[in-house]
Amino acid sequence: MIHPIPPGTRDVLPDEMRELRRLHASLIETFEGFGYGEVATPAIEYDEVLGRGDGRTASSAYRLFDESGELLALRSDMTVPIARLVASRYAKAEMPLRLCYLASAFRAVRPQRGQMREFTQAGVELIGAPAPNGTAEVVKVLEAALDSAGLDRAVIGLGDADLFRQLLAELGVEGAARDSILERLAMHDLVGLEAELSELPGVSDEQCATCVALSQLRGGSEVLEQARALGGPGVERATARIQETFEALQARGAADRVRIDLGLLSDLGYYSGAILEVYDPAIGHVLGGGGRYDALLQRFGVDQPAAGFALYLERVHVAQMEEDSRRREGAS
């Protein structure tokens, strides 16, 4: 008998569940150790609430009507629901506020190993702690989480979400052209990027080359120098922000596994300032990400800076297994 389940969903059987439980427990224990209290929110929310995060990208792929005709949606991440929770439950609380979660979320992706339509995220949100120290604390917790998962080769990319927005504003690129260029940058479609930039009136060949070159700068703190050499006030501000964060990380002894990456762009529109991505050499997919979203809580009527990250649990588990088999091969 075949009883189908929707594409991108799956059952978990005891052997896998046992390993996932261990991973869950070690991550939550790590978060708790840094003073982050675990919260849960409903998997379904009002569509209008989730849409406040970002109309285009954070909005849910799964919507339904309830019995009174209200439009509901399955959450696509935990950051927006937690912003809602903070605004309604902790509006007058003493800041900073430290919250963590381990929860499922839903996106209409092409299902493959480590990427399902229903997936689990584990992460933290630090509310009311501005850059650079708030960001540095979040990175420190992220590093501890990766260590607790046994991913000692994992690397954290650190970039700035406003770099290209400001750069394009300086070049006078707006509207649909701007969105299209940001999309090309996010996908690192350098061929398309060059083609689109060179077609724009008022963008010189040199400015176009600067834009492409910036997106490819990644490495240690030396790339900040290289970026400054390319010039512009927007670049200056962004590199100064990254440098501040990097120095705050160094002060906490947390800069070892951080790589500066000026080409990082978030898929999610609500990020501002620092932006994070997590990689492990054992798998070809990004393990998680995060950053600052200082303007997100305003959309819920609370003016507080915020930062956080989320790890894709199933991908972390895949990376754990790959790292285990690598260690076994190395030992034999």
């Binding site: 092409r110 493959q112 190993r113 000692d152 080769r153 994992a154 690397v155 990319g157 996908m187 690192h188 479609d189 350098l190 061929v191 398309g192 490819q216 990644r218 490495g219 240690g220 030396e222 070892d256 596994r257 790589r259 990456d261 991505e277 990689y279 492990d280 050499p281 798998i283 070809g284 997919h285 990004v286 690598r326």
Partner: protein, 226 residues
Amino acid sequence: MSTEVAGLGRAKPEGPLKLAVPRGALFGETLDVLDAAGIDTTELRGDSRSLIFEGAEITLVTMRPSDVPTYVEAGAADVGITGKDVLLEQADRRVYELLDLGFGRCGMVLAGRVGDEKLGESERRLGVMRIATKYPRIAERYFEETGRQTELIEVKGSIELAPLVGLADGIVDLVATGRTLKENNLEVREEIVTCTARFVANRVAHKLRSTEVDELTAKLKQAVAR
């Protein structure tokens, strides 16, 4: 070869960089460009049935062009070369497109039978054109953008057959010289997009093996600029 990422002790991706090489129409020119970039392709030029050729600095993995985005997205190959037609058709595969290599130039076109008004007549009288193609997503996007409704028929083999026997009013296909079209009494009606070979990279490899990826990109850029 150093497997350490510059400035970073922790990330140690093992072994040589894996490059996905497309077999088929792009194969010869890809090998020429790799040679010019200083990568030894002698073994690939032989009649070996092997799929993997291990070198000291780079491992070459051969595959169908349409499989390249799949391998590169998953990180099974760190970098690869394939046609823009493949990338457009598989636009949901998240790979970084780093370089236009310029060779393998082809046009994606809408073609119909010479002197035959079937395309126009179907659209006018029936509201829908029937189009046979191996590239349903490129075709769908093109007709949506140009505000026309179509019935797309996906076929695997010789597309030229479809309008000749009445399966479709026209075809969307990749054309290099136009000889096949001519021999089948077909002609180009509209040019959709020009496609060349592209150099692509896995998202994580681009970050964690940045030195090697950047070096290879620079070498390829030089090789095709000649």
